[in-house]
Symmetry: D2
Subunit: 137 residues, 4 copies
């Protein structure tokens, strides 16, 4: 297991909210990350789909990881998400990557797919800015 | 307790994810909603602040409620959030309102403040589109 | 005419694109700006409404001015816009304000109304981040 | 020249604002569009770069075209743009594509590059929602 991946896993364990939800790190290399999350009842809304807030959390976290892979310890400054389809199935997979980066900030994109019996389906796409954690606004 | 408020509380109880987080409905009237969430350890990230994903969830839900107050049962199609300050304190309050609405969609805004010993401080602002639940994209 | 307003007018005259479109500065004080633009045929799209790109330009510029009023010479890093109604009439008015600011960045909001025979109507709302011009990303 | 491309060119000629700026259609097929724009003095801001409003206009228009390629006559409902680098050179190229589409709406992404002496450089990325023109909100 390489250093970056180990750092990524430690951060995830140190985020109580990620522990509460059960997020897993599947891939973490410079400019790229894959996070996964098992879908369970507690993550749903009133229509039986995954709550949009869970997709947002996952997009936010994946964007932070993608930016952090090139900037070091980072936070998401802002992002935008489009939900494109209700999320059903047994697992969410968020794939984020860096589109452009400077010394302090990176612009990243993320797509989230839901994996069910009939394969994977795109459920949300996001785009946002990640900033080095020590940088004040 | 009026009908709209009762409908709003029922929806919240029927969202397992909102129950997991502990969201409360404080105000719900046509065009306006206030949701609150007690800050606890499980909602934080690695630096001791509320996880951005929690703020996103709360913004998403408040936007949906605001839109839903004029459209009926609704979902958030898309939104954008800017985190403006780390969230500390004991309670989050999300206030959302409708800026413009048609038959099927409403554009809404939301601000989230964190309440601590020194009063309330703005921590995030969001803007997005809410769509009637039965409307297919 | 105060110094800030004069600075704002000079910047507008030094932006060839703003000169091409005909943008006017109506108010400029710390944390707040109002820009106006006369609607004419050349600014429209195929259905006879003001082109969304004109509304976007005006929102972008108003956000930059709002941020610049507290940060000094600035650029818009990112923003999001919702078009809420087709823009008709004889004048656009964009009002932007600062929601939160630090040393290098400000988060700002903007609303654009179109003024016609029956008064003003909201046509677009925007939210985004403005950054001091000398700050590298 | 195929029908879709011809339709796209006609729309561009019927948009007075696109004629004013000088936008060209380079590619138009289902789910994909490429628009180009020659950089000239009139499109710049006070620091000599292309005005952000021009990039926004181009992103907005490319998103509409991408969505329109699968939905028919369309308008952009909302989008978000991140400027990642000052735009210099002699030509802008905006490439947009459809990420997901239903009967009434499509979610699209767009990247804009500036072409100069040293090749092409990414200057902005955008993501948004396009809606069939006859659909009321």
């Amino acid at each position: 297991m390489d250093e970056l991946f180990e750092f990524g896993q430690r951060m995830l364990r140190e985020q109580p909210f990620s522990v509460l939800l059960g997020t897993q790190l599947a891939l973490f290399k410079p400019g790229e990350v894959v996070l996964t999350l098992a879908i369970r009842h507690a993550l749903k809304q009133q229509h039986g789909f995954v709550h949009g807030g869970v997709l947002s959390y996952l997009a936010d976290n994946a964007l932070t990881y993608a930016g952090g892979s090139v900037l070091g310890d980072s936070v998401t400054s802002e992002y935008k998400i489009n939900y494109v389809r209700p999320a059903l199935g047994h697992k969410l997979v968020a794939r984020a990557s860096v589109l452009s980066s400077g010394k302090r900030q990176a612009v990243c994109q993320c797509e989230i797919v839901a994996i069910g019996e009939d394969g994977e389906r795109l459920v949300a796409v996001a785009q946002g800015t990640v900033r080095k954690a020590e940088t004040e606004a």
